[in-house]
């Protein structure tokens, strides 16, 4: 067990600056209007630094810098860009603890997660796209004896990216790695709930990239996000967030006739078939843990397995075990490596979760575990903590249909295979799903019948680079984490070449 020292105390691994400006053109640039906002740590509810409250003037400066840098960066070789991505990955690895403390302090997540998941994955995503861009070939076709079609991948130029707050560094890297690998310059706006950890990262990696290739502008959506997303000086906008803002961003993109990839959340079903409980063995233990993963990252994951669907014959026994397992989840100081459930990322997030627990009760769902805000006392008293919560109900209830983004799971039963698939697909969303069965055929068929972009079979919450991630239905457009994502950041240039000396003969 290790308890990392809190930022601001003598032994802390990271020291936040009292104030952060924007990172534009390879240097810190104060916001034009001179405004800043406080960044609050959800660990204790107290402000710990100030961050630029940017406006369209700052977005313009960042776009100027990006446009200045884009032509040369776009002409670098894949070898050169891959080397840059690999160097950034090395720096993340070398500063894992420092970045983990920064991430936990900014977001509230238990530090075992950034130490063992967010940061190793971020480094690996850079390395994956460094490899992918090296391995990417163009294309050619010999259309006839004299006519060749050559296809080249070209960068789009300058792209905008808007990042969510649930995995502030990792979600930024998911978007940055393919964009930079493909040779684009980026203007990135972090979430206003978690603007600081990415700035700690840029302090470490900023000099690896040529000035202006990556620009980070902080601020609120209406003041900084909109001028970025609606600018006619970007060639693509990427966004992770909710449906209304997603639609708004697609509307802005349509006005500029540019592509947009949007990842808009989910309400993922985690399906446990009867044969899971055939034996009380290590697989059963794994499946039980698979249920409890709803509390991973305090439920603040777009693919949170927030609907558990249990086969009727095992309903009572499986659920009983899962409740006991959930009770063991250790909630506490997010800087303690033994802590499994940390703080929700913001006060409004806490309030929203509590409002959903309230509507769940009003809808007639049965509260089986948790359901209360937690006061951890001492220095953590002002933090935003919620008990892991288990509801039993039916799929028409709003707690089964809306992404609560908290440690809350809604459980129901199913009669047979068709019933399971029908309930699981009865949702607006289609980002993730889980299938648990010892029977390979059942697992395979369910995986194919579920309308979701990512179906975990006999595992959950694994996000390795290489496995395509993205949504069906209202969960969005586009794929990340796979070389497919390069295509979201590239133009296709077709060079159609005639090697014939003869006129066409039309005129």
């Amino acid at each position: 067990m290790t308890v990392y020292a809190a930022p601001g105390t003598p032994d802390a691994k990271v020291t936040f600056k009292p104030r952060y400006e924007n990172w534009i053109g390879g240097e810190w640039v104060p916001p034009v209007k001179g405004q800043y906002f406080e960044d609050i740590s959800p660990v204790n509810g107290k402000p710990f630094t100030e961050v630029a409250r940017s406006t369209h003037e700052d977005i313009d400066l960042a776009l100027d810098a990006a446009h200045k840098a884009a032509p040369a960066w776009g002409k670098t070789t894949a070898t050169q860009r891959a080397a840059v991505l690999n160097k950034m990955a090395d720096v993340i690895d070398a500063n894992r603890e420092l970045l983990a403390v920064a991430e936990t302090w900014d977001n509230g997540k238990p530090i075992r997660e950034p130490l063992n998941a967010d940061l190793p994955l971020a480094a690996d995503h850079f390395r994956y796209f460094a490899s992918a861009i090296r391995a990417q070939d163009g294309d050619h076709a010999e259309l006839d004896n004299d006519t060749m079609s050559y296809q080249f991948h070209e960068p789009l130029g300058v792209v905008g990216q808007i990042i969510p707050w649930n995995f502030p560094i990792l979600m930024a890297v998911w978007k940055l790695a393919p964009a930079l690998a493909a040779g684009n310059a980026v203007v990135l706006k972090p979430a206003e709930q978690t603007p600081a950890s990415i700035l700690v990262l840029i302090e470490l990696i900023g000099d690896i990239l040529p000035p202006g290739v990556l620009n980070i502008v902080n601020g609120f959506g209406i003041e900084a996000g909109k001028p970025l997303a609606s600018s006619n000086r970007i060639r693509k906008i990427a966004f992770t967030g909710e449906t209304t803002t997603g639609r708004l961003i697609l509307q802005y993109a349509s006005a500029n006739i540019i592509p947009s990839t949007v990842e808009l959340g989910g309400k993922s079903a985690n399906i446990f078939f009867e044969d899971v409980a055939q034996k009380d063995d290590s697989y059963y233990d794994k499946a039980q843990e698979g249920f409890v993963l709803f509390a991973f990252n305090q439920g603040e994951v777009c693919t949170c397995p927030s609907r558990a669907l249990l086969h009727k014959p095992i309903y009572d026994s499986f659920l009983g075990g899962a409740i006991e397992r959930t009770k063991l989840a250790k909630q506490g100081n997010p800087l303690d490596t033994d802590t499994q459930v940390g703080a929700q990322a913001s006060n409004d997030q806490l309030e929203k979760i509590l409002s959903y627990i309230d509507i769940g009760k009003k809808e007639g769902a049965k509260l089986l575990l948790g359901g209360e805000q937690v006061d951890l006392g001492g220095d953590l008293s002002g933090g935003y903590y919620v008990e892991p919560t288990i509801f039993e109900g039916q799929n028409k209830m709003r707690i089964f249909q809306e992404e609560i983004f908290g440690p809350v799971v809604a459980v129901t039963s199913f009669d047979d295979y068709d019933d399971a698939i029908s309930i699981a697909n009865d949702t607006l969303y289609g980002l993730g799903a889980g299938v648990w069965s010892r029977n390979g055929t059942t697992a395979y068929r369910a995986g194919r019948d579920l309308h979701a972009g990512r179906v975990w079979v006999n595992n959950y919450h694994n996000y390795p680079a290489g496995a395509a991630f993205g949504g069906y239905k209202s969960s969005g457009i586009g794929r990340e984490n796979n070389k497919l994502a390069l295509g979201h950041y590239q133009q296709t240039k077709n060079l159609l070449v005639s090697y014939s000396e003869d006129a066409l003969g039309f005129f």
């Binding site: 709930q193 803002t245 808009l264 959340g265 929203k352 509507i359 992404e403």
Partner: protein, 144 residues
Amino acid sequence: MTDLKDPPAVAAVEASITVPGETRSRVALTQTTVELLRSLWEEHGPLMFHQSGGCCDGSSPMCFPAGEFITSDQDVLLGRLDVAPAGEPEQLIDFWISAEQFEYWSHTALLIDVVKGRGGGFSAEAPRGVRFLIRSELMDSFTV
């Protein structure tokens, strides 16, 4: 401002009924919300709401300058709210939700409250350090 120690939020303004065939208002505002909306109206001009779903800031009502968000046949006008003080000219705010989301939400009535918060989409109140929050009540029709 609302926190857990405050008394339950109560409706100060109820929306007019805009869903065809219905007889009960679906949206209401707390007094705190009314005052915030009047202030945002002074800053941005006429306003609108679109109820969001999914992901980080989902389930939050997003407040925009009127017309900023383009609604379509895929949206339902859930209600129209007048936030003007008594005797003053109307200040009407339309509250929209996507038609597909309405199907799953139709058994609940929404009370829009305000809590301390940080950011959230492109919603107009975010720079004030507050967020609109939905509190829900059951419509009479809901049966399990």
